[in-house]
Each structure stands twice: as structure tokens, then as C-alpha cells.
């Protein structure tokens, strides 16, 4: 069966140093076609356990491959296909790649700030999973992000448990910078350039200046400070329309009661 040969080929070329990503992509496309013909891509009912394990492994390699080629939508597709294997075929021998992939999925949700989905996904994991370093990493990141301990998130960059995490961590840093920037806008009146650079984890001043321009901050180069424009004193407006609507609602309800 050519499927087996291709599978071995894929495994070999993915494990090679450095992996031949272009070849993997070609093989994956062919293998997926093969899986569909064998009814293994979206398995239903009772199937041979060994076949399922192979199918699962192909999809797992596909998931890793998508991240290496920085194709996030493709990772999402592989992940949703894998979920069938992880949840509905829990009787299969557990895969050693399951937690890394789930962890990657969690980080991906974090980078998009989909916190509700993050918690839903986390809740469906068994309690033991949280002890795995692959899951613990995103869980910690989320906790620090929510608290505001951004320095810890920055520090955890290097501690990524798998090489694939690196890709997401970079985009996570972008999210964090924007978070910090919005905090600074409200919390400070002005900030020395040097300190702003440290707070935002910039190493050079030019990077900071570009970033400041994007956010529309006033930079005073001679004094070396950034001034944040106050977002105007909050106007104490009486929300007329809302009050009127509420009063009308009460009147109607009272009418019904009486």
C-alpha cells in the first residue's frame, strides 16, 4: 500500500535535520487524500486501532508542520480533526504529542485574546494534564497576563517547552506590548524615554519611537520624555435617552400589573 510508504517517507523527512518542509507539505496532501479514501480522516464507528494511530500521527505531524510553515489556519484545521481522535477515541494508546499540540492550541487562543475559548478548552482537559509542562506553560502565561505581571510573561519566553511554541510567543509579545501601552496611557502622565523602553521591552530607542508614533504619543526628544495625551475629562452627561426608555418600560410594566 503506497499510503504506508508515504507515511514512512513523511516521518523520515519530518525528523530529518533540518526537516524538508516543502516535501512534507506535498506528502501531507497526498496522505490526507489517502486517509479520506480509507475513511480515517474523520473516523466513525469501530476501526482498526493501529490504523487510527497512524492517522493520528499523520495529522499530528501536519499540525506541527503548519506551525513551522507559519500557517495558523491550517493548524486550526488539523487541530479540529485531531480532536476527534483525542476525545472520541480515548481508548487508543495515548499519543505523546497530544499535550504539546493542545498546549499550542491554548497559546494560539491566548495570542488572539480569546480568553473565553481558552478557558473552555482548558476545562475539558483532565486535571492531570495541567501538570504536563506543555499545558502548564500556557496556563501560567494566561494567569500572568490576567494579573498584569507582564515581566514574567516576557521572562517565560525562553522557557517554551517545545520549539513550535516560539512562533506563537513572538506574536504574543505583540499583544502584550499593546496591553502595556494601553495601561501606560491611563496610568502615567509622562514617562522618560529610557524607562518606557524598558517597560515595553524595547532594546533600542528607534524601535520605541516607531511604536510611539503608531500609538500617537507625544515624544519630546530634547527632554527625553513621552507625554500621554489625557483622554479629556470624562464628560458627566446625563444619559437622557436611557433614563427615558427605562421610565417608559416601568410605566408599561406597572400598567400590566395594575
Amino acid at each position: 500500500m503506497s499510503l504506508k510508504g508515504q507515511y514512512a517517507d513523511l516521518k523520515a523527512s519530518f525528523a530529518a535535520q533540518p526537516p524538508d518542509l516543502a516535501k512534507c507539505g506535498r506528502l501531507l496532501t497526498q496522505l490526507k487524500l489517502g486517509l479520506i479514501q480509507a475513511g480515517l480522516l474523520l473516523p466513525q464507528g469501530d476501526l482498526n486501532a493501529a490504523d487510527l494511530v497512524v492517522a493520528r500521527e499523520i495529522l499530528e505531524i501536519g499540525a506541527f508542520w503548519s506551525i513551522r510553515t507559519q500557517d495558523v489556519p491550517s493548524f486550526d484545521r488539523y487541530f479540529s480533526q485531531l480532536q476527534t481522535f483525542y476525545t472520541d477515541y480515548a481508548t487508543l494508546p495515548p499519543s505523546q504529542h497530544e499535550y504539546p499540540i493542545r498546549g499550542l492550541h491554548l497559546i494560539r487562543l491566548l495570542t488572539q485574546n480569546r480568553i473565553a475559548d481558552f478557558h473552555t478548552a482548558l476545562e475539558s482537559l483532565p486535571a492531570a494534564a495541567v501538570e504536563s509542562p506543555f499545558i502548564a506553560h500556557p496556563v501560567n502565561l494566561e494567569r500572568w497576563l490576567m494579573e498584569g505581571s507582564y515581566a514574567k510573561v516576557w521572562g517565560a519566553r525562553a522557557e517554551a517547552p517545545a520549539a513550535e511554541y516560539g512562533y506563537f510567543v513572538d506574536s504574543l509579545m505583540g499583544t502584550i506590548r499593546n496591553e502595556i501601552a494601553s495601561c501606560e496611557e491611563t496610568a502615567y502622565e509622562s514617562l522618560p524615554l529610557k524607562d518606557a523602553a524598558t517597560l515595553l521591552f524595547f532594546t533600542s530607542q528607534s524601535e520605541l519611537l516607531v511604536f510611539a508614533q503608531q500609538r500617537g504619543w507625544e515624544v519630546n526628544l530634547t527632554a527625553g520624555t513621552i507625554t500621554f495625551a489625557k483622554k479629556g475629562e470624562e464628560t458627566m452627561d446625563i444619559p437622557k435617552e436611557r433614563i427615558i426608555a427605562a421610565s417608559l418600560l416601568y410605566a408599561r410594566e406597572l400598567e400590566q400589573i395594575v
Partner: protein, 513 residues
């Protein structure tokens, strides 16, 4: 005779204490038998109710029969069931045969005690009119339901319960009678329980899904409500919150469903919403669940479970639950661990929070609130910062770090910055000097007062509307009023006519003069 009667009477007293007190009272008002009815009598009484319900097309009677279920369930045994079947099914029909085939052969009359109680039950039997014809299929279903509950009490008969449940469901769907709906809803519950006891809950899901579709096509509200709850329960049991959420968004929970079903539904919704960080919606749902659930003493388990979640959600929203809640006789003991957490959050002490969390972790995991409680960590920090901002007008970041047990000054700066942005405190950081300056308090007379007020009014109005909906309107009661109104209209017409005639008279008279 009194000697024999005393025993069951005492036992009844005990049963009543931990079960549906009010239902029993209702029943007593209707038919005041001096000694509380024996199980066989009660079953027969329920059979009569069900038959009346079917005959008058009034689900109320059937529902009343169903309400005694919880109390009755604990007193069932093989002999009681056999006797009841014997008495209700007079003729030897296939239905009776199939019912009896599920029960073990009657033991030889060595068990004098059992026979005695059965004999004691026999004399007052004529009180209930003995049905002569074959009872309606609903009665058959009722007995099957009773048997299922009985089988589910001991692990040795779990398999039997499951078989019986499957057969019953098939039969029920083939019959497709609307008058059977209230019983059908309970049968589904029994089926789920049978699966759960066999710890194969996930296998029942396709069955439930199919049945749910059928029920919604047939507008079988009772069954639909019951099945939606069954499904939600099984999803949440396996932590499949995604699927549960999708189910909720794709179905509409029938508005005519009973309160117990609504209470469950709201509880599950609350749980899903809490996991998705939608705390205010979760809070509203849990409040509904508490309000709709039977009283604290009737269903203590549910009451405690809802309150556990309720306390956590309230904390996550940044509120502190009422202290009186933890002194409630039913809740006090169950909520001890939660009370400790509340104390830790209230004082804003991270270290106290961590130790409490570690101490009670097994209980939180058993309650499946652990992940929710872990999320409270940020709330603890926020409360701490808020307390500091209230008591100091200016405080150095170093001190904040020490007081809140944070790891570094750098962290403290970010955390305070985030708190300011999120609107937890009003103030600013002066970076050059390394301190936080806190702004004055808000007046407390802004538009937010109106918002709080309108939220409360909304709650009261909804409570009123729900209670109006919950009231029962007897059929045809409006006929009388209609007749009266008709009469009034008639009189009015006559009057108008007379006046008209009178006018004419006047005119005529006027013409004459």
C-alpha cells in the same frame, strides 16, 4: 391490628422528614387516611390519578402522581411492586405478563414479615375503585418507571434497569401518546440514571439527541425539557463545554416546562457561562436556578451545589457574598471551604488565598469549581490594591509589593498600571519617584446609582412576571366570566334599546305637543 400498623407509620414519619413534605400534606388534605398509605396503596392512588389525568386530558393529575415519586422510590421492593401490579391489572393480559417477567419470582411464604405488611395493605384496598377494564398504557409506563427506580437502587440490577429502560423507551415512542408526556419525561431521567450508574453516560448521547429531535417535532415540551437537561448534564459531566454551549444555542428550552427542569437548566447554563467568563450572565442564571429550585430542606443537594457555584461566581464578579449565606442550616457545613476563600478574597491577602486553596483543593476538585477558584487569584490582587488605594493617598511601589506579597517591584508597577486601566482604582503612577498617587473617591451619585437601581427594578419586575406565568389557570374558568360579560352586554343592549325607544317616544310626544 394497631400493632402491625404502627411500624409502617413510624417509617413513614421518617421518610417524610427528609422528603417532599408539602406533597404529602397536599395528598392528606385530599383524602385523609388515618395511617399514612402503604406503598401499594399509594401506587394505586397514583394509578387512579393517572387514569383521571388521561381521561380529562389534564396533565395536572399525572404531574401530581409524579410528585410523590421521590418519597415512594425509597419504599419500593419486589413484593410491593408485585402486589401493586397484581391489584391494578386484574385480568391476566400480555402487559401484565411482561411487567411481572421483570420481577424475580415471589419468594416462598417463609418471609412472614413481608406477607404481613402486604396483608395489612389488602383490607383498605376497596376504598379505591377497582378498575375493571385493562388500564391505560400510561399505567403500564408508570409501573415500568417504578421498577426502573427500584432496580437502580442496587448495583446487581443496574443491567436490568438499563434493559428495561431501553424496552420502555421503544414502547413509549411507538405508542406516541401526548397524555404520556409527563411520565415519558421521567422515564428518560431513569434511562439516564441507568446509563450513569453503569458509567456509560457518553453512550447514551446519540439516543438522547435523536429523542430530543423527535420530541421537539411533536411539541412534547415536558420530554424536550427533560432531554435537554439530560444532554447538558452528560456534556458537562465530560467537561465538553463547547458542545454544551452549542446545544444551548441551537435549542430553545420550552417555556412551559416545569420548575424543577427550569432550575436544572439554569444551573447548567450558569456553569457554562461561568466557564466562558461571562460572569454576570452566569450570576443571573444561578439566581434563577436558586429561585426555581425546591426549598432548601426538600432538595438539599441541589441547593448546596447551586450555592457553591453561586458563591464562586459572585466572587469572580468582584462582589462579596452575603455572610448570612454561610450560616444557613443547610449550607453552613457544605460551604465551609468556600467561606475560607471568601475571607481570603475579602482581605486581599494572596498568601492566605494560596494556603486556603491548597487546603481545600480536593473538595474544590470534587465540586468541579477548582479551575474557577484558581481564576480568583487576580481578584485577590485587585481587592488588595483597591484597599491600599482607599487607605493611602500615596504609596510607594516597593510597599505595595511587600504588602501584597508580589514577586518584584517591576511586577507591582505593571499590576497597578493594569488596575488603573481596568478602572479598579482611580489614580496614577509617578514613575520617577516610584510611587502611586490615588485620586479622590467618586461621589457615588453618578449615573451608576441609576444603573444599580434599574437592575433591581428589573429583577423585581421579572420576578412578578415569572410568578404570574407560574400560576395555574383552570380550564374553562373564564367561561363563567364570559357568560357574565355576555349577560351584561345583553342588558346594556336592552337598556340602549329602551332609551332609544324612549327617545322616540319623547320625540313622538314632542311632535304631538
Amino acid at each position: 391490628m394497631p400493632d402491625i400498623e404502627m411500624k409502617p407509620a413510624k417509617k413513614d414519619e421518617k421518610d417524610k422528614k427528609d422528603d417532599k413534605k408539602s406533597d404529602k400534606k397536599d395528598e392528606k388534605k385530599e383524602e385523609p387516611p388515618k395511617p399514612p398509605p402503604t406503598p401499594v396503596q399509594e401506587i394505586k392512588y397514583n394509578v387512579v390519578l393517572i387514569e383521571r389525568g388521561v381521561a380529562t386530558l389534564e396533565p395536572r393529575f399525572t404531574n401530581r402522581a409524579m410528585r410523590t415519586q421521590t418519597a415512594l422510590r425509597k419504599r419500593l421492593d419486589d413484593v410491593v411492586l408485585r402486589n401493586a401490579i397484581d391489584e391494578v391489572f386484574v385480568k391476566d393480559t400480555p402487559t401484565k405478563q411482561s411487567l411481572l417477567s421483570w420481577l424475580p419470582e415471589p419468594p416462598p411464604p417463609t418471609e412472614a414479615m413481608e406477607v404481613d405488611s402486604a396483608a395489612a395493605a389488602a383490607p383498605p384496598a376497596p376504598k379505591v375503585p377497582v378498575p375493571t377494564a385493562e388500564p391505560v398504557p400510561e399505567v403500564d409506563m408508570y409501573f415500568r418507571l417504578l421498577m426502573m427506580h427500584h432496580f437502580e437502587t442496587s448495583p446487581s440490577t443496574y443491567g436490568k434497569a438499563l434493559d428495561l429502560a431501553h424496552q420502555t423507551v421503544e414502547k413509549m415512542q411507538a405508542l406516541n401518546r401526548r397524555s404520556m408526556d409527563p411520565i415519558a419525561a421521567k422515564v428518560w431521567y431513569a434511562l439516564e440514571r441507568a446509563y450513569e450508574l453503569g458509567s456509560e453516560l457518553a453512550d447514551a448521547r446519540p439516543l438522547f439527541l435523536a429523542a430530543q429531535r423527535t420530541a421537539s417535532l411533536r411539541h412534547d415540551d415536558e420530554t424536550q425539557a427533560s432531554l435537554i437537561n439530560r444532554l447538558l448534564r452528560s456534556y458537562i459531566h465530560d467537561s465538553l463545554y463547547d458542545q454544551a454551549d452549542k446545544l444551548v444555542s441551537k435549542t430553545t428550552f420550552p417555556a412551559s416546562a416545569g420548575n424543577p427542569q427550569f432550575a436544572r437548566y439554569h444551573y447548567y447554563l450558569g456553569r457554562i457561562k461561568a466557564v466562558q467568563l461571562n460572569y454576570s450572565a452566569a450570576h443571573a442564571n444561578l439566581q434563577q436556578a436558586i429561585r426555581r429550585a425546591p426549598g432548601a430542606t426538600l432538595a438539599p443537594g441541589f441547593y448546596q451545589a447551586v450555592h457553591k457555584l453561586f458563591v464562586v461566581v459572585e466572587l469572580l464578579m468582584g462582589d462579596i457574598p452575603d455572610r448570612g449565606l454561610f450560616r444557613h442550616p443547610v449550607l453552613g457545613k457544605a460551604l465551609v471551604a468556600y467561606f475560607d476563600i471568601v475571607k481570603a478574597v475579602r482581605t486581599g491577602s494572596l498568601s492566605q488565598f494560596q494556603t486556603t486553596l491548597a487546603n481545600h483543593a480536593p473538595q474544590f476538585e470534587a465540586d468541579r469549581t477548582f479551575t474557577l477558584i484558581v481564576r480568583l487569584r487576580q481578584n485577590v490582587i485587585k481587592t488588595g490594591i483597591r484597599r491600599l488605594s482607599l487607605s493611602y493617598s500615596r504609596i510607594s511601589l516597593r510597599d505595595i509589593c511587600v504588602k501584597l506579597h508580589l514577586d518584584s517591584e517591576e511586577d507591582a508597577e505593571y499590576i497597578v498600571g493594569k488596575a488603573i486601566r481596568d478602572g479598579v482604582i482611580d489614580g496614577k503612577i509617578v514613575h520617577e519617584r516610584g510611587w502611586m498617587e490615588c485620586g479622590g473617591l467618586k461621589g457615588g451619585y453618578g449615573p451608576e446609582v441609576g444603573e444599580v437601581f434599574s437592575r433591581r427594578i428589573g429583577y423585581c419586575l421579572e420576578l412578578h412576571n415569572q410568578s404570574v406565568k407560574a400560576m395555574r389557570y383552570p380550564l374553562n374558568a373564564h367561561r363563567k366570566e364570559l357568560a357574565a360579560a355576555e349577560g351584561a352586554r345583553e342588558r346594556e343592549k336592552e337598556l340602549a334599546k329602551e332609551i332609544q325607544d324612549g327617545d322616540h317616544d319623547d320625540e313622538e310626544m314632542g311632535g304631538e305637543f
